[in-house]
Symmetry: C2
Subunit: 73 residues, 2 copies
DNA sequence: ATAGTCTACGGACTATAGTCTACAAAGGGA
DNA sequence: TCCCTTTGTAGACTATAGTCCGTAGACTAT
């Protein structure tokens, strides 16, 4: 499975664990809601800056996020 | 310091530790040499796919790479 | 029914990631 | 001196990251 699809699954899992809507995460990470949707569906490849922006409100380190992706590769 | 500048420093450190030229790393990671140069100088924000492509020939996990960045933030 | 929340998705748009070619400059070694 | 390797950088280009507008469908609760 591609990196971006796995990225999307991990993002969605973590977001739902935190009981956040896409809209809320978008606001907290200062990204667009439709873009969060695209990411979760594996339609976009985020930059590392975007990864950091997402991880901040989710309360985990970017390295931990990538660790989750590596598990599934 | 910005994420991309730190990214560049970490990339250069690791590449030089491995005794690779930008040209060699570019070939191994299937990226352009001038782009490696831009990255090392903090002029570009790589996608996570690019990060994975760079880490593979450098022999370290993307999560480890980001861990180095987090240390300096 | 209907109002509210959440998400998928489309189109149009701007900014930038990433490629390619070419040239300049610095350094080391024969 | 003259190569040779390495890196910076510019310009032009294509692909895609990321925004912003709108609409529609699923679901829940009232």
């Amino acid at each position: 499975m591609s990196i971006e699809v796995i990225f999307g699954k991990v993002l969605r899992n973590i977001r739902e664990d935190k009981k956040l809507s896409q809209e809320q995460l978008a606001h907290l990470s200062e990204l667009d809601r439709t873009y969060i949707s695209l990411l979760e569906r594996g339609k976009r490849r985020p930059t590392i800056n975007t990864l950091f922006a997402l991880c901040k409100p989710l309360g985990l380190k970017p390295s931990e996020f990538l660790g989750e992706i590596e598990k599934e590769l």
